[in-house]
Symmetry: C2
Subunit: 495 residues, 2 copies
Amino acid sequence: MTKDKEKKQVITPKSKDYSKWYLDIIDVAELADNSPVRGCMVIKPNGYAIWENIQKILDAMFKSRGVKNAYFPLFIPKNFFEKEAEHVEGFAKECAVVTHHRLKLNDKKKLIPDGLIDEPFIVRPTSETIIYTMYAKWIQSFRDLPVLINQWANVVRWELRTRPFLRTTEFLWQEGHTAHATKQEADDMTLDMLEVYREFAEDYLAIPVIKGIKSDNEKFAGAVYTACIEAMMQDGKSLQAATSHMLGQNFSKPFNVKFTDQNENEQYAWQTSWGMSTRIIGAIIMVHSDDKGLVLPPKIAPMPIVIVPIWNKNKEKADIIQKVKNIANNITEKTGYSVYIDERDERPGFKFYDWERKGVPLRIEIGQRDIANKKAILVRRDSGEKIEVPLINIDKKIKELLNIIQSDLYNKALKFRNGSTFEVDSYDDMKNIFSKKENGFVYSFWCGDSNCENKIKEETTATIRCIPFSDSKKDGKCIICGKKSSKRAIFGKSY
Amino acid sequence: MTKDKEKKQVITPKSKDYSKWYLDIIDVAELADNSPVRGCMVIKPNGYAIWENIQKILDAMFKSRGVKNAYFPLFIPKNFFEKEAEHVEGFAKECAVVTHHRLKLNDKKKLIPDGLIDEPFIVRPTSETIIYTMYAKWIQSFRDLPVLINQWANVVRWELRTRPFLRTTEFLWQEGHTAHATKQEADDMTLDMLEVYREFAEDYLAIPVIKGIKSDNEKFAGAVYTACIEAMMQDGKSLQAATSHMLGQNFSKPFNVKFTDQNENEQYAWQTSWGMSTRIIGAIIMVHSDDKGLVLPPKIAPMPIVIVPIWNKNKEKADIIQKVKNIANNITEKTGYSVYIDERDERPGFKFYDWERKGVPLRIEIGQRDIANKKAILVRRDSGEKIEVPLINIDKKIKELLNIIQSDLYNKALKFRNGSTFEVDSYDDMKNIFSKKENGFVYSFWCGDSNCENKIKEETTATIRCIPFSDSKKDGKCIICGKKSSKRAIFGKSY
């Protein structure tokens, strides 16, 4: 706290430098910090509390669908990677390799690696290979299926350019891994989990997302197809918020995940995997925050309500704190929301400013006179609106306001996305849009050929974010080659 | 399930081969499995659900004391280890070293490590060094103190001999790390967290523990002193269930964790760290289970109650399941306990046997006749006792029984420990006890000299488990050297 005060950090305006603004928000809201470990961040308590809420909600959604949690090894034997060629392509270029199992002091009193391991280990970038090795052991009969397992874990991908939450060498995520008796079941699972992610993103994070399928260029190495939800950030760029992969039998064959069916025939299982990571915290920050600081949707905010009691003289403090505690307890009892009371010996103005930067959705200001008049001031973080309410009604009003803030944030984000979404029928129009500083999502017909996709990527840096499920248009011409096309893709620049 | 049936696994009697019994319990209860990664286990859903309950309860206990969760990097730069000599001694001999950041295919289509890292990383065996590097950055003034942070994480120690839960190369744990302005505060924190662990072990896990201090030989490298709770397993061996370390200024000095006090003087912070790991699941298994399978205390059991509905003809199934569902819903509503209904098409006898092995504390058997007579049979897993109860009273009886099971398990374990605890005043008596197959805890006077301690260790393999807080005897003579001693230590063989 003192550090903040001393530094008096200024938030760079979003319009001036979007990247700097993002880093400033993380800094002033104390969400994360750089670590001395290349590409790895420290998730500070304020940031981790958001992740804990994400875990709690998503975990319950998974469990309601019969998914159970388990834990698999951090290390993957190198030769597991050799079994699945696509996988190698995807991950071998950026992974942490464990080659030794001890350190020893040399003559100069420095520690050097010692004890060479015969078969090096890879620190998991994702766990398909190790998990499916176990599934091969566990699954024998159709009676053992489906297997629905999720893992909350850390994973490592050796990224060259990193940014807190969005792209770090180590990150936290959940990875679901299922095995089924039929292709149909696996297809259904893939889309069912995508719907879980959509519901979570839209209903809890207030982030509107588009469901669709990745192009072959952009899909997960090893998947038959990758379904995803894509969200638009306030700079018009796209962020892949979660993915759900239909793996078909691509892993069950090399890893021998087989079962005996009802007719005593041996078959390979059909599999899916799906994940959401701490990256989503980057999306929450970028979709909702403003130049004053972090903005959090109430349903995911670790601290939804803060009360700032106001006293003029020090001797009034104990009395007002006591009264405010009674009010807070009453609110918690009636609404279920926890309420934080800011008892610090600081000016109210400083506290307002502090909680604004930290993104607490609703602030309650209460002074001696307010208590005498049996009222309080509620201040919305998202809109800044101040609302005077009688204390007798405060719980109902709080419930109502938090619901309104939640839906207003969603609607605001949706409106922004709609305003930055374009339909084009010519490549010139597309190039024109992507040449602007703030661009967005561009819907256009695409033939399905990766040559056309690559040309666009090379010339505009935009890629296919997804082929949306909900697109209504039927036929058109690929904006590059002019071939007839029955599907439109969403192009965008991405995180 | 089918696999189990086909294999018809037999549980080795505890008295015949305790180690084999332990592994058999893990196998039949489906708690964990060996992985293809040397020394690493897979925690299966049944085992992980126990860990999830542990996390939920402990996490709430930590938070009620103002501790917040955060997340720090998995990798620790090698040179951090060089700063704290004691630490090096403790961990450098058994750690995973990351030396490369990619793999490339060689001529033989094999992947080989590539991209040498300048400064190798250690996969964290514990996080003092990386966390305190951050604390040095975050802490400036006495106003920033205390810092109370916990991390739920995986850690790696390259163990040569491994056993599921008890000793594995990778394991899961929580590690709390605090920084304080005074020695007194750090001392208090160390013992306060030890009390949290004692309460958790005794009240939730039904494991009686002894609080005490480790000898210098056995303490955490780098701690001023290590406080611990020790539990006795059913073979008389001791298991260290949790530790809480007073670090003094041993880390704050090399890592520069300094603050300016009220008088504007610069001081080094006083620190503590404390942890409990998935090892505790090994203790739960070993303290309570019997030759029929796993026994779990109700407060930690992922599935506290199972109903086995009994039907004679297949056409009766739907009807009885429906009635049992109503009973289950009523139980959940009135007691808060979730109830699992076993609808499998298997003989009731198979199901009883299955749930016994898996350690469900309370089984309810209900057939058509029971429903007609408005009663059910409750069967306690711990004692095998069968109790007929009227359905009208079933919720009250269940609550009562689960409480009784919980305290009976604790009392049984306490009785066992008392029966295997000895006070000796001569080394011959001690040797006599430790020469027996089942031994236990031996209280005896010890001068405090590690030479005497080492002699006992060499000759009996027993070590000092702790110097207990609660010991009442005042003075005596060291059983080895005969020097006057004011403290008794507990000696025991350990896991």
